[in-house]
């Protein structure tokens, strides 16, 4: 699903945000990207949905060579994946339904597709009963579920989440992570960048740890802290 070969990202000011990363993520995987702030988690995600272009290296997402993607073809890539952010990025003057439908409408979808897909994803995230409400009438967890519904309405095979629980309390955090787990069970590849220790430790999934733009460890069923229980703790 995702393949990175020798990928580096150097900002104009000379900072190496990503420094020679090789990474393979298979179809249907669930992967945490961890590491403290400024360590390249968000930059890595941005490279995957072509918000940024790598300075060097090859990136393939769902068979698309992202590093060589022409600008006119970016929409094609974006329709293959969904992105979820810490701040939800909902439109405050649109209802839950409209926010989700918007993502379909702007890709030129037919009315009947909108009427079929929107209830499907609202059901999936458990917000069918709040479809007519506005974002500011919802809890943070509900807003994030709306954002997840919007990310999924195009039926993407890949869901990228950048600190999805960063603004949420523990109860809502659990709720969102359970939802992401269920989405993953349906076959969607999920990549979550987070520095929430509890989330990572509870889920026990693959953990890719970044430090200074490099991958320092990559464990199946990992913990937030390296070698937890062996007194070998990276400060986070």
């Amino acid at each position: 699903m995702i393949s990175l070969r020798g990928v580096s990202l150097v900002y104009p000011n000379g900072v190496r945000a990503i420094d020679g990363i090789d990474l393979e993520i298979g179809k249907g995987d669930f992967v945490f990207l961890v590491g403290h702030s400024g360590t390249g988690k968000s930059s890595l995600l941005r490279l995957l949905y072509r918000e940024m272009i790598p300075s060097s290296g090859e990136i393939t997402v769902d068979g698309i060579r992202v590093d060589k993607l022409r600008r006119g073809r970016i929409p094609t890539l974006r329709r293959h994946l969904g992105v979820v952010f810490q701040d939800y990025k909902l439109l405050s003057d649109k209802t839950v339904w409209e926010n989700v439908a918007f993502a379909l409408q702007v890709t030129g979808a037919h009315d009947k597709d909108v009427l079929r897909q929107v209830p499907r994803v609202l059901d999936l995230v458990g917000l069918a009963h709040k479809a007519r409400m506005y974002p500011n009438e919802l809890s943070g967890g509900e807003q994030q579920r709306t954002a997840i519904a919007r990310a999924l309405v195009n039926n993407p095979k890949l869901l990228l989440c950048d600190e999805p629980t960063g603004n949420l309390d523990p109860a809502n955090t659990t709720e969102i992570m359970d939802l992401l787990g269920r989405i993953n069970l349906k076959g969607t590849t999920v990549v979550v960048a987070t520095h929430n220790q509890a989330v990572v430790d509870r889920m026990r999934r693959r953990v890719v740890r970044l430090q200074n733009g490099k991958i320092v460890t990559d464990e199946e069923r990992g913990y937030y802290f390296l070698g937890l229980g062996q007194d070998q703790v990276l400060s986070g």
């Binding site: 974006r78 439109l91 702007v106 990310a151």
Partner: protein, 293 residues
């Protein structure tokens, strides 16, 4: 395109348009001013074209024969002029008639009886079809045998041509400047809308809307600004024409306004096209600048 899509699209355009009512009014007003200027210029130019033709058609070449020119030389000149396709008409004025004309013209200013003999040469008054051909025709007449001098008011012709040129250039400069100003103001208006909707645009980009799709509502907004401005200008021009033209015709009868035939429907179409083009180009540029990441 099904109805749902069209409805969604029009809704987006309408929301954009009503978001910055003040800015939209400014943009429309600026376009209107520009188009009024352009309309006046085009209208006056069409009128002047007539007027200019009248003035230039009055330019004649005075061909003076030598005092010792033989009658066969005079008739040779007459034949040459008659054969020349560039010549519209040639009138022979023998010196006797010339003196009579001079006396009539100078009546009361000088005492013509002081003239004891006729100082005037025989002459031809030649008018030319195309004013631009006047110098060439004059040059070829000068070469004919028996011809002494040729005069056609070179200075007057050149000055008229220069004046017409300067007037045209000033007009074009004014219009270019005002079109630029209108474009910049529309572009700024659209940029405000783009800025107000930057969250929506970034979400559109995120979920895979094409740049063309994102652009369309803004292009439409610019188009509406341009067309409404042009319509406003056309209304102003129509009122101005209805109330001013009769007065001008009375005040300046020599302008012969009633003779002027300006093709109004094509003028209106031209103005609408300019308004629409300014709106589309200006919004295209300002959205394009934003979408380039």
């Amino acid at each position: 395109m099904d109805w749902g899509k069209i409805k969604f699209f029009l809704g987006e355009v309408f929301r954009n348009f009503t978001r910055n009512a003040g800015m939209q009014a400014t943009a429309i007003g600026t376009v209107a001013v520009t188009i009024v200027l352009l309309g006046v210029f085009l209208y006056v130019r069409a009128s002047i074209a007539h007027l200019g033709n009248d003035v230039f058609s009055q330019i004649t070449i005075s061909t003076y024969m030598k005092s010792d020119a033989t009658s066969s030389q005079i008739s040779a000149v007459r034949t040459a002029l008659a054969k020349d396709l560039r010549v519209a008409s040639a009138q022979y004025i023998p010196k006797k008639q010339g003196l009579k004309e001079l006396r009539d013209r100078m009546k009361g200013q000088i005492d013509a009886s002081l003239l004891t003999e006729n100082p005037l040469p025989d002459k031809f008054r030649v008018s030319v079809r195309d004013p631009n051909e006047v110098p060439a025709v004059a040059a070829s007449i000068r070469k004919l045998p028996g011809v002494d001098t040729v005069e056609y008011g070179r200075d007057v012709v050149q000055r008229l041509l220069q004046l017409a040129n300067v007037a045209r250039r000033v007009g074009i400069a004014l219009i270019v400047i005002s079109i630029l100003v209108a474009g910049i103001i529309i572009s700024n208006t659209i940029r405000l809308t783009v800025y107000a909707r930057r969250r929506e645009i970034s979400i559109m980009q995120l979920v895979g809307a094409t740049n063309m799709y994102i652009r369309m509502p803004f292009i439409c907004e610019g188009l509406i600004d341009g067309v409404l401005g042009a319509l406003l200008a056309i209304a102003v021009l129509a009122v101005a024409r209805a109330s001013l033209v009769p007065k001008v015709a009375v005040a300046l009868p020599w302008l012969q306004m009633n003779v002027v035939q300006v093709d109004l429907s094509s003028l209106i179409l031209q103005l609408l096209a300019v308004g629409a083009a300014v709106g589309v180009v200006a919004s295209w540029i300002s959205v394009g600048r934003y979408l380039r990441t």
